[in-house]
């Protein structure tokens, strides 16, 4: 696929990218700032639709789907983890985790709450379930964000600099969680600056100037 940033002189960000990722793989994308790795991630995650080419996830062609169709697809199949945690500050930890599942609407509220609590204990932070999400430490917030990403059993986790804002102890924790998830069959695609983090993943994709090397 190809992607241009529009402008007076369109900037060719992604040049003839062709990539396939296997189910259950733990992939990290590394590269210098501006090489297009985040852009690639947002295209893979269906949030960015302004590109040329084709994107197929789980055998379903998602390029060309309408906005609401993509939203539904993300809700069901993709979990997000961002650098800046991005929890909704008005809600408690538990509510933050439950919202994507409530949106999906496949389970009853009680079942969702139960499964959210399960995710929290999986992350080892069951005790903070009822705290307002604004009052957590960075590491805690990131674990909540991962729990939220997992609530709909998406199978695919997209992470943009998941450890970019964390100290080494928390980074270690997050990495272990990712590894564990990968073993359970989740596909993980993470963009990172942290080469140590990347080295321990299943596959590293390095990008230079919009190409995979």
């Amino acid at each position: 696929m190809n992607k241009y940033f529009p402008g007076p002189e369109p900037f060719h960000v992604l040049k003839d990218i062709s990539l396939s990722i296997g189910r259950g793989e733990f992939i990290t994308i590394i590269g210098k700032s501006g090489c297009g790795k985040s852009t690639l991630l947002y295209i893979l995650s269906t949030l960015d639709t302004a590109y040329e080419g084709e994107l197929v996830i789980n055998g379903e062609k998602v390029s060309g789907l309408k906005e609401s169709g993509l939203a539904k697809f993300r809700n069901e199949h993709i979990g997000f983890v961002f650098q800046f945690h991005f929890l909704l500050p008005e809600f408690t930890v538990l509510q933050n985790i439950m919202i994507p599942a409530l949106k999906l609407g496949k389970l009853s509220r009680d079942a969702i709450e139960h499964s959210a609590m399960e995710r929290l204990s999986q992350m080892g932070i069951k005790d903070i379930a009822l705290k307002p999400s604004g009052k957590l430490s960075g590491g805690q917030q990131q674990r909540v964000a991962i729990a939220r990403a997992l609530i709909n059993n998406p199978g695919i986790i997209m992470a943009d600099e998941p450890t970019g804002n964390l100290d080494s102890a928390n980074t270690e924790t997050i990495f272990n969680i990712f590894q564990e998830l990968s073993k359970q069959g989740n596909t993980i695609v993470a963009v990172t600056h942290d080469t140590d983090f990347a080295k321990r993943s299943d596959r590293i994709i390095e990008m230079v100037d919009g190409r995979i090397v």
Partner: protein, 420 residues
């Protein structure tokens, strides 16, 4: 289920910044409260003024106008249809006519069959002079059936001394306008002497005095029984110059007056044609009220628009996260629009309540008393239609004010926000 997530998010966000929400709501509350207050008061004023001015005007008035139509030709009766002959009449004058309504009794019986008509009151009116010492005071004597007349103009409420029915129990009784009685320096029980333009004089005993609050009436008018005036004018029992009517609904007066005029062949005037300034005044006050009220509501709408815009600007990140998690543009729009609507609906309810309390309060404030006002408190009407309109328009304003920011929120590009 999915809608309920949106509402759950909207509710939580609204609650977490309740101070801001309440301030946005206050705009709507005051807008609607002032709308209710102003419209109730203005309508009260309109009604009061209309009541006062209409108090001495019947809804429909049928009488025999002096004919001033001189278009008919007299040539034919003199020369037949010879087209070469003509007669030129300079400065024609009206013919001598009897100003009474022929077959008045039949007309009255016919009018009483109309379902629109509440009261029919016949009248024989004449100019009279009230002799007061050596001075003669000009006045108008109305010969009426006092029971109908009382129903027509609500005379009972306007009596200063005596009762309308006293006219029937007093031999040669008369009811005087209070202003007239003051001028003549007479009170109930005194005797006054009346002289007609024809030169006949007759003595009447004062059975009571009344005040309409209009000096044009109170200073010149007197009532006597119809048969008394017929006798005074030396006319027969059918001699009636006017028929006045009160309708159940005064809005049909114009239409009905036209129909009646055609049917009986007499001049038939509705209250509006008799006194066009009433409707003009009402229209001006109504326009003012509506303009000011709607401005208030729109200003409240702008308040909501501003606050929602600020909220959305500060919630960009949250919108991006929600979108990443599978909420589409419509969900985001629902979330923010429902916040505006909650503010609008709660504001409207509180506004109606406050508006009612203000109106109720004003309706209990005593009105400064003068001898001609019969109003005890400030005039306020309580009509549910204004409450419905206020609430409806208030909610509509907040909806419109909420749509634009909500659409903006729905259009947020999550990638731009998430990448920072």
């Amino acid at each position: 289920m999915k809608t309920s997530v949106n509402l759950f998010i909207a509710g939580t966000q609204l609650w977490s910044r309740r101070r801001q929400s309440v301030i946005a709501m206050l705009g709507v509350v005051f807008g609607i409260a002032m709308f209710i207050f102003m419209i109730s008061f203005m309508k009260g004023v309109n009604n009061y003024i209309q009541d006062t001015m209409l108090s001495a005007i019947p809804d429909i008035h049928i009488y025999n106008d002096i004919r001033t139509d001189y278009s008919s030709s007299v040539t034919r009766s003199k020369y037949g249809s010879d087209p070469l002959k003509m007669i030129i009449v300079h400065h024609p004058r009206p013919e001598k006519v009897r100003l009474n309504l022929k077959n008045a009794g039949a007309i009255i019986r016919d009018l009483q069959l109309y379902p629109e008509v509440a009261v029919v009151s016949p009248l024989l009116s004449t100019q009279v002079f009230f002799n007061y010492g050596s001075v003669q005071i000009n006045g108008v004597l109305d010969g009426v059936e006092i029971i109908q007349e009382s129903q027509l103009f609500g005379l009972r409420d306007r009596m200063i001394t005596g009762l309308p029915e006293d006219l029937l129990t007093t031999d040669k009784g008369i009811l005087l306008g209070q202003g007239l009685a003051d001028k003549l320096n007479v009170v109930k029980g005194d005797i006054v002497t009346l002289a007609t333009p024809g030169g006949i004089a007759m003595r009447f005993r004062i059975a009571g005095t009344f005040a309409f609050g209009l000096s044009t009436v109170d200073n010149i008018k007197a009532y006597a029984v119809l048969s008394g005036v017929q006798q005074l004018l030396a006319k027969d029992h059918d001699y009636i110059t006017d028929i006045r009517m009160k309708l159940h609904n005064i809005d049909v007066a114009r239409d009905l007056a036209l129909r009646l005029g055609k049917k009986y062949g007499y001049k038939s005037e509705d209250w509006e044609s008799t006194n066009p300034s009433i409707r003009t005044g009402n229209l001006i006050r109504d326009t003012l009220t509506w303009v000011v009220s709607i401005t208030l509501l729109i200003v409240a709408g702008f308040g909501i628009y501003n606050i929602m815009n600020m909220v959305i600007a500060s919630k960009m990140k949250d919108i991006a996260i929600l979108k990443a998690q599978g909420f589409d543009g419509r969900d985001i729009r629902t979330i923010f629009l429902s916040q505006s609507l909650v503010i609008g609906v709660l504001g409207a309810i509180a506004g109606l309540l406050l508006g009612f309390l203000l109106s109720y309060g004003l309706s209990k404030v005593p009105f400064p008393q003068t001898e001609f006002t019969y109003m005890k408190f400030f005039p306020v009407v309580f009509e549910s239609k204004y409450y419905f309109f206020g609430a409806g328009f208030g909610v509509l304003t907040t909806f419109v004010a909420g749509v634009l920011p909500a659409r903006k929120a729905a259009g947020v590009d999550p990638v731009a926000i998430l990448r920072g």
